[in-house]
Amino acid sequence: MSMEWKSAAALAEGVNKKELSAADAVSAALQRIGAFDEKTNAFTDVLAARAHEKAATIDKRIARSEHLPLAGVPFAVKNLFDVKGIPTRAGSKINRERKPALHDSVLIERLEEKGAVLVGAANMGEYAYDFTGENVHDGAARNPHNPEYMTGGSSSGSGGAVAAGYVPLALGSDTNGSIRVPASFCGLFGLKPTYGRLSRARSFPFVASLDHLGPLARSAMDLALSYDAMQGPDHEDPICAQREVEPVTTELVKGVKGLRIARLEGYFAKMGVPEAYDAVDKVAKALDAHESAELEDAAVARASAYLITASEGAALHLDRLRERAQDFDPDVRDRLIAGAMIPAAWTVQAQKVRRHFQEQARRLFERFDILLAPATPTRAPKIGQKTFRLDGQEMLVRPNIGIYTQPISFIGLPVVAVPVWPDDGLPIGVQVIAPPWREDIALRVAHQLERDGVCASRPAKLPGAT
């Protein structure tokens, strides 16, 4: 297999065995980015000098007989992660005037400590308030499987970079679905861990109540490897849980035997196109899951997430809205201004709903270990598409891509998005949802689905690539 489609696990194994060097792996990634990213627009910053330097230090560590689980694995981060030496633009025009970051974000430090090498910062929707991957300042990220279509957002370039074969691993953020949506549209595995599991320190925030960080990859094993490298408490993020590392990589082989798995009905079986439900059917059948379950207040949960997002997002950006409204992406600006007007009583009630809905899910998890739901209501829309038809209604694309992801992240449940390919066209994802702090179960299910050939990423045929 050529280098671009090797998994992180395979690359690291090769580097650890000295069959290839970290320098080789990083050079191949940089070469491919240079050759093709003009067409996919996944990266906003390519950090070649830094990456070569880091690769050389990894090769020295390997020469000293160190074993590194991510040795020489090139990776990208959404450009809201602090990267030492460049401004953290967070998809905006305004933030790129900031001073260069003095330090890397904590998750970059942890991945590089385990041997991975950062090669660049990835495109994203402005200030992460986006599900499309469009960006008025940097241009839309384009889906490597068909550049006329959206990558999904807001971790758009992170999804594009992995799907294009530039890197096997990228980090994104997920407030309402921004890892799971690009995973669905780009045919990838995406992990949104439990709220509070991974440190958010030194990343640009959006909605403190709902922000999560996590990886996108082309296999469940690569999610697990990177997730294990990033776990652990961090005093710099007050939300980061004081939990020791709970390794999952060695758990994946346990399979799914004995797990009680149900598909979510009700809210999660409305408003989607048939492919969304067919994908869940396919996954449920492969897992021999015949039961169904319902989170009856999912619509209220989604509405509550909507209010909290608009309100906290507006509070974060209020000064910038006062001083530089004209420099925002218009779609983001108008939503944030509206959010600034939300009465406090509304968001307090929304936070109470959050606790209530959490209890509802907890009761459901007494009966089941895993819940299945579509990741997105459709496959990727075309770039620029404003509306789509859902259940016979013409709906706005931008706010409705996340209808199935929002209620789940609202209560911080860990989810692995897994890719299903209905035909030779674009993919669509399924959410594998686990109880809080049980990322291991969701990853085991994803790994089993991959082993059984039900879910897989597919190499994208980039225009001009041989």
Binding site: S209, L307, P330, I337, W346, Q349, Q351, R355, H356, P399
Partner: protein
């Protein structure tokens, strides 16, 4: 959760109230809403109020705890 009794106060379904709300909200937040932004803001605030109607209709006990927990 159950919906509140229908006679309890809710959010008025009134375009004039929404317009007045934008004016007052902008003034109190120190935001100058450029006329070119106003239609977009109105569409989004309408979406927000629709979400709020659903959220505020939920009957929760007085001692219901909100989501975030502050640990000193």
């Amino acid at each position: 959760m159950q919906s509140r009794k229908p006679n309890l106060p809710s959010i008025p379904d009134d375009p004039a109230a929404l317009a007045a709300f934008i004016d007052a909200g902008a003034a109190m937040s120190g935001l100058a809403v450029d006329p070119a932004y106003r239609e977009g803001v109105k569409i989004h605030l309408n979406a927000v109020t629709n979400a709020a109607k659903l959220v505020l209709a939920q009957k929760l006990p007085d001692d219901a705890e909100p989501g975030p927990v502050f640990e000193p």
